[in-house]
């Protein structure tokens, strides 16, 4: 943001003024709400309409770290890591192809990845509900080869991972596309010339070259899928409650705002740690 400075005299007033809209926005809609949530997490639950009252207490954190709540950590980690891996497996070849082999179709294909993203996430999850239902097309096609499942594929862990993968794939493809475009093809020739086979070239040359994009894309998929509660709630079965789902329950069900807030603070802290640890190379992209 230092581009506004003139003649190397440090940040001018105009430079700071340019920051003001973003600053106000972040202040009002990010810093203040997060501070509120942090404050709520130390308050006492109220079952009237106030929801949170004095006195201050650590009860919410005690409950949040209770062993009975542990399953949601593993479940959330399993869902979001599976979805991230699936996005990587689908997104890497896709990005490579679009970036390097699509020629004049490049922008069209990139658009095809992005356009579904313009529709509401909720509507797209509902579409998956219809697709995966017992009488839905996916189960019927699987039925042709005898692989259909009574009750359809809805309400399963697989459905949740499919929904998350579909929902966040563009977040993976875009950073990968950037690093694939930047990748110098002469490195491939050099690798083959110097004796690497296809596998060696991929793992020792291509993948390290694309690493910043891989890390950035993975974070961009991982973080929102950890917090997503709509997809698991609509596609998952009875054991689908994730971190985001528990937080949602505490607020919408009116059950326990301090607990919901404490969980949100813990989630934010985890994400912050991941972010700081994302490594120098990922910072080139993200």
């Amino acid at each position: 943001m230092g581009g506004m400075t003139r003649g190397g005299t440090g940040r001018s007033l105009a430079g700071w003024a340019a920051l003001a809209p973003a600053g106000l926005w972040l202040g009002a809609f990010f810093v203040v709400p997060v501070a509120l949530v942090a404050q709520y997490s130390f308050a006492t639950r109220d079952l009237g309409i106030a929801r949170v009252v004095l006195p201050w207490t650590l009860d919410a954190y005690r409950l949040a770290l209770d062993p009975a709540v542990l399953p949601i950590f593993w479940r959330t980690a399993a869902y979001s890591l599976s979805a991230t891996l699936a996005c990587l497996v689908i997104g890497l070849p896709l990005a490579w192809f679009v970036a390097r082999h699509a020629g004049r179709w490049r922008l069209v294909l990139l658009g095809a990845v992005l356009v579904p993203f313009w529709a509401s996430h909720l509507a797209r999850v509902y579409a998956w509900k219809a697709l995966l239902a017992e009488d839905g097309p996916v189960n019927r096609v699987l039925g042709l080869v005898g692989l259909d499942r009574p009750g359809g594929l809805l309400l399963t862990d697989a459905a949740v991972v499919v929904g998350l993968t579909y929902g966040y794939l563009p977040f993976m493809v875009l950073p990968l596309y950037v690093v694939c475009r930047r990748f110098d093809p002469r490195l491939l020739e050099a690798s083959y010339d110097l004796g690497h086979g296809r596998f060696g070239t991929f793992f020792r040359v291509v993948l390290p070259g694309l690493a910043p994009g891989v890390v950035a894309g993975s974070l961009l998929v991982l973080v929102p899928s950890v917090g997503d509660f709509v997809t698991p709630a609509l596609l998952g079965g009875v054991n689908q409650l994730t971190f985001g789902g528990v937080i949602d329950d505490q607020f919408r069900g009116g059950n326990n705002w301090p607990l919901g807030s404490a969980l949100a603070v813990l989630l934010l802290a985890t994400v912050a740690v991941l972010w700081v640890a994302r490594g120098r190379r990922a910072r080139e992209v993200l």
Binding site: L47, G136, L155, A233, G237, V238, D249, G253, N255
Partner: protein
């Protein structure tokens, strides 16, 4: 795309919901309540202590003396003649606004003086509003028709003696099932969840008190228990039940209507609505028992026309007015004197007017006080996360 898909997708945009859905609707408006909190000042305050005023000492008078009544009710939850009839007779002009979820009502009320004189929360939100001291005790001198209420509603657990509320309509929480999908089996008890045809497809309500009640009843306890040990039993029962459940959600209309769920814990009103699409559905109070729910008329503390609100309450308690209301909305009428004016066909339907024997198995949800209610909520969180 089959018809079922069409139903599923149509539900997405179905804005015209009938009464009971809103208990179940996506309760996004709670976030607006949160926003209102923020706007009202971020400071967290001491808990409100409900004033224990003597109802007899509190006369209901109009703060603003004008023939106006601001009435806030659920959508599609009134007879077409209820309001014009009241206006013609009293000369009071009614501003009739609608909400579609309890949270929406709460958001309006939480934002401060809402201007409403008369509101219709469900009993679970009546408890919440009372804890925050938002309601005015009723002036029984202005409601001579109160005696028309069935005894059950005069001594009800949710508001004994009608100190703060007069019931508008009521129903039960029981089991909805699709006879065909369950292979013709008749559902009589909670064992139905174990039927092979229901395995992995049945639904439990995502509402702490309702779901915990099912667990308590299944474990052979009182659904209004205050015993922590019995609550533990219920958690065990429900964790075990989870292995055969399909889903935990309060949006049961769509899965029941589409046939996706052959068995669900449900509010009677939601089932009647699902029946319009899926006539194979039926509703039963399992032999272990269920709960009654009720939507009630109350007067907010901030009501500018409290006396007019009382006049309306007395008006709706008249036999013929109450009868017409019951016929229009097709929910249970709490008005004993109105029975002669209710359609025979509705009275004969045990799903709306359960037999005396079944009524004994469906108590109202009792307010157990903040500490125990908190325990119910946390027990339910444990069932869901476990």
């Amino acid at each position: 795309m089959g018809d079922r898909d069409a139903v599923r997708i149509a539900r997405l945009w179905d804005g015209r919901e009938r009464p009971l859905t809103r208990r179940a609707m996506l309760r996004s408006t709670a976030f607006f309540a949160l926003a209102a909190h923020g706007a009202a000042g971020c400071a967290i305050s001491e808990p409100v202590q409900p004033r224990h005023t003597d109802p007899a000492a509190e006369r209901a008078v109009n703060e603003v003396e004008e023939p106006v009544l601001n009435f806030f009710n659920w959508t599609d939850y009134v007879d077409e003649d209820t309001i014009p009839g009241f206006e013609d007779e009293t000369g009071i002009s009614v501003t009739y606004d609608n909400f579609s979820s309890n949270d929406e009502l709460e958001a309006k009320l939480a934002a401060g003086a809402s201007g409403y004189d008369l509101i219709v929360p469900s009993d679970n939100f009546l408890r919440r509003f009372l804890r925050s001291d938002l309601l005015r005790p009723l002036d029984h001198d202005l409601i001579p028709n109160l005696g028309n209420l069935e005894r059950r509603f005069r001594e009800a657990e949710y508001d004994p003696g009608n100190r703060y509320s007069v019931p508008w309509a009521w129903g039960t929480t029981g089991l909805a099932f699709s006879r065909q999908a369950l292979g013709g089996a008749d559902v009589t008890s909670l064992d139905a969840f174990r039927l092979a045809a229901a395995r992995g497809r049945s639904v439990l309500l995502d509402e702490a008190r309702d779901a915990m009640a099912l667990g308590l009843l299944g474990a052979g306890h009182d659904p209004n228990t205050t015993d922590p040990g019995e609550l533990e039993d219920a958690v065990e029962y429900l964790l075990d039940l989870k292995s055969v459940l399909g889903q935990i959600t309060s949006d049961v209309i769509e899965p029941l209507a589409s046939g996706q769920a052959p068995l669900a814990q449900a509010w009677s009103g939601d089932v009647f609505q699902a029946m319009e699409t899926n006539p194979d559905l039926d509703f039963v109070i399992p032999e272990e028992g269920g709960l009654s729910w009720v939507d009630v008329l109350c007067v907010p503390r901030s009501a500018p026309h409290a006396a007019n609100a009382h006049r309306f309450i007395d008006h709706i308690l008249r036999p013929e007015v109450g009868g017409r209301l019951a016929n229009a909305i097709q929910y249970g009428s709490p008005n004993a004197a109105a029975r002669p004016f209710v359609d025979e066909e509705l009275l004969a339907d045990e799903r709306i007017y359960p037999s005396a024997e079944a009524l004994a198995r469906v108590p109202f949800t009792r307010d157990l006080g903040p500490e125990i209610e908190g325990r119910y909520a946390d027990a339910w969180t444990r069932v869901k996360t476990g």
